[in-house]
């Protein structure tokens, strides 16, 4: 297998930037002097992600500094919530550090200990994380977790098709429709834009939130009551559903797509644009899952409405210390090690890794990181600054399900947009009232 000169140079440069494997992590600030927890073995409950596999592979450096060892248990995303629930209910104190997705944190608040004291004792500066990520670890004013894996949305597009037809990357939703229609006219068999409308973990809502914010709508009002069925809210749903039903610029099957189906559609060359999480880059570049090459894929910030900021919905995973852990102080040491921006940077620049994910401010603007990923992190940083966010209360999973059902019904045409979302609003009011 031939190695291209350019690839070799890029890898060498990245290795140079990353430095020796353990250089950065031997200098973790905030660790207790004298290795007071030497000999302790920590148990870590973790979702499957290449980023965390990379952390696990570097644990020797952590052990060298603290004398603590750690054993990671990796759970696939589809089973992660059940694993956390079992840990919360079981009461065995099986894990000393666990990771949870933002949308679950409030409903899992009984599982985690507040870590405000840990953070101040270890002098971990919280401005290290963009507020859009950091607030997902807070519940009721208490910090329950520190962000470690965070996603922003980007608009992926077929650079080769855009260049072939001299198209500009759309900055507004209106332009996105026009561009998609042009592509469909000039490239028969290829859909303009792939988005999911089917039920599944609220995935059919995640692009729509940007439509909602762009129209000036909100999910909830100041009293926590549903506001998504306001005139602006209903119009935003209509705009989103119109991509499928009126403009017909999505694949016909999008009505039942989950997020992965939408990604597969683009990866198999059936769609020209894909608004989705940035981590999908590695899927689109994976030859086992995609027919596309790096040269064919471009990305840009998510479109918005004319004159409105370009927002992104965020997805954040936070590390917390389970309330029933029996080794909390040692767990705090590992938390400080993971929260070190140098570790995140090292993984980002490791040429053996291909995971784009970063949540820490210094790395989002880092020159070497942006050089490696074509400026993706700079886009992410800009989106994070401009975006709004959703406060996920304990009832969020139930509310999300009511909303995704309404979106699915509106997309299939089983109910009109006002009917579906006014119905969802009534349901959400019942959920909120019951508390």
């Amino acid at each position: 297998m031939a190695i291209r000169r350019r690839d070799f140079l890029a890898a060498t440069a990245a290795l140079g930037a990353a430095g020796p494997a353990s250089a950065s992590v031997t200098a973790t600030p905030g660790l207790r002097a004298g290795k007071p927890f030497a000999g302790t073995e920590l148990k870590v409950l973790c979702v499957v992600a290449s980023q965390f596999r990379a952390h696990e592979a570097r644990l020797a450096a952590f052990t060298e500094q603290t004398g603590i060892t750690a054993k990671y248990t990796f759970i696939p995303f589809g089973s992660m919530r059940e694993a956390l629930t079992a840990e919360m209910v079981g009461g065995g104190g099986d894990y000393d550090l666990a990771i949870a997705m933002d949308q679950w944190v409030a409903s899992l608040n009984n599982m985690f200990d507040p870590i405000d004291n840990v953070v101040s004792a270890k002098q971990i500066p919280l401005d290290r994380w963009p507020e859009a990520h950091l607030r997902q670890g807070r519940v009721g004013g208490r910090l329950l977790g520190l962000p470690s894996r965070g996603h922003v949305q980007l608009l992926f597009y077929r650079r080769d098709l855009f260049e072939k037809h001299s198209l500009t990357v759309p900055a507004t939703w209106e332009a996105l429709v026009e561009t998609a229609q042009t592509i469909q006219q000039r490239e028969p068999g290829i859909s303009g834009v792939s988005v999911p409308y089917g039920r599944g973990n609220g995935q059919n809502l995640m692009v729509w939130y940007n439509f909602l914010w762009g129209r000036g709508g909100q999910l909830f009002d100041a009293q926590g009551q549903p506001a998504f069925n306001s005139a602006a809210g209903l119009q935003s749903v209509q705009d989103y559903v119109d991509l499928l039903r009126r403009h017909r610029v999505t694949p016909a099957g999008a009505v039942s797509f989950a997020e992965q189906d939408a990604v597969n559609s683009m990866g198999q060359g059936n769609a020209a644009m894909l608004p989705v999480w940035w981590w999908v880059r590695s899927t689109l570049l994976n030859p086992q899952a995609s027919r596309l090459t790096e040269a064919q894929i471009g990305f840009a910030p998510m479109p918005s409405y004319a004159g409105q900021p370009r927002t992104t919905f965020t997805n954040t995973w936070v590390w917390g210390i389970p309330r029933r852990s029996r080794r909390k102080e040692a767990a705090a040491e590992l938390l400080a090690w993971i929260a070190n921006p140098a570790l995140e940077r090292e993984v980002l620049l490791d040429p053996r890794e291909n995971d784009v994910v970063a949540v820490m401010q210094p790395n989002l603007v880092d020159e070497a990181v942006n050089a490696r990923f074509g400026g993706m992190h700079r886009f992410a940083g800009e989106g994070l600054r401009a975006t709004q966010s959703i406060t996920f209360g304990p009832e969020w999973p139930q509310i999300s399900e009511a909303l995704e059902t309404a979106m699915s019904e509106a997309a299939t045409g089983a109910r009109s947009v006002p009917d579906a979302f006014n119905g969802a609003a009534a349901q959400v009011r019942r959920i909120v009232r019951r508390g």
């Binding site: 919530r81 009984n110 039920r199 099957g253 039942s256 189906d261 198999q268 399900e401 997309a411 299939t412």
Partner: protein, 292 residues
């Protein structure tokens, strides 16, 4: 006397296992169904609230009403298709011969596939862009070309039924084949001698004699269809809308997504009572069949 003591001693280990793994969890969930216990508020069960959860489910919960309706429709279609297909296949495979023997052996394979995997496979096969079944259906019936099977409530439910029937029909065929093998040959031969054609022999002699077996198959399949969960998760996700949310899937959602353990236990017990009713019916049928 010693024999009696030994008898009880020998069944003790099995009794403890059943008590620990079945009776105790069932009893705890029954008690939980009368308590207010939301994990978002407390890690320990809250106060007793009587039959409130049951009353809410049966009178004031559109999600429960929808799941009950979906489950009922699913069970009726699924059981009918499974029983009729199993009967038809069993009659076809009744004859002796190498091909029939091989087919009978191969029949068990779909049942060996995990239901979650069946759901994932069917999701791919019914994918609107690259699904093999979508393509085949369009090739055979042109009006189905480009039809998005998982987008319409009725067709999504049919796909769910199809995936379940694909897994169960072969197994039930083997059960019916067993029933056919046990039937005495004389009545069928007598009917043929009296001039009945094959359809008349089947309708008037074989089928009535096979009815107890078919009843057992029907009840067993009803019990399993009522518990439909895996394929809902991996194939339809309950959608489109709520058109494939079954009772078992609803229980899962209430317990492990919404963290309302008390209400989930109540809904689970409503489902369990249906299953217990059917299990008692099934047992009675089997015992009646077994008695001389």
């Amino acid at each position: 006397m010693q024999d009696r003591r030994l008898k009880y001693l020998l069944i003790l280990p099995a009794a403890f296992i059943v008590l620990g793994t079945t009776i105790w969890p069932l009893a705890v969930s029954l008690v939980t169904s009368f308590r207010d216990w939301r994990l978002t508020r407390s890690l320990t069960p809250g106060p007793f609230i009587g039959a409130e959860h049951y009353i809410t489910a049966l009178t004031d919960d559109p999600d429960f009403a929808n799941a009950l309706r979906v489950t009922a429709i699913f069970v009726v279609i699924d059981v009918t298709i499974t029983v009729v297909s199993a009967l038809g296949l069993a009659v076809l495979l009744r004859r002796a011969g190498v091909l029939h023997s091989v087919t009978r052996a191969v029949l068990i394979l779909p049942f060996a596939v995990s239901p979650a995997l069946v759901g994932i496979s069917f999701r791919f096969m019914f994918n609107a862009e690259m699904g093999v079944f979508t393509w085949m259906a369009g090739a055979v019936l042109p009006f189905l070309r480009g039809f998005v099977w998982l987008a319409e409530p009725s067709s999504a439910l049919l796909v769910l039924v199809f995936s379940d029937a694909w897994r169960w029909v072969p197994y039930m065929t083997l059960v019916v084949l067993g029933g056919l093998a046990a039937l005495p040959k004389e009545p069928e031969e007598a009917a043929r001698i009296d001039g009945a054609n094959e359809w008349q022999v089947f309708r008037d002699v074989t089928l009535p004699a096979l009815l107890p077996v078919l009843a057992v198959v029907g009840i067993l399949k009803t019990v399993f269809a009522l518990k439909m969960f895996d394929q809902v998760v991996t194939l339809t996700g309950g959608g489109p809308g709520q058109s494939t949310v079954t009772l078992a899937y609803l229980v899962y959602s209430i317990a492990f997504r919404w963290y309302d353990m008390g209400y989930a236990s109540a809904v689970a017990w409503i489902l369990t009572s249906m299953l217990v009713f059917l299990a008692v019916w099934y047992t009675r049928l089997v015992l009646r069949k077994a008695s001389p």
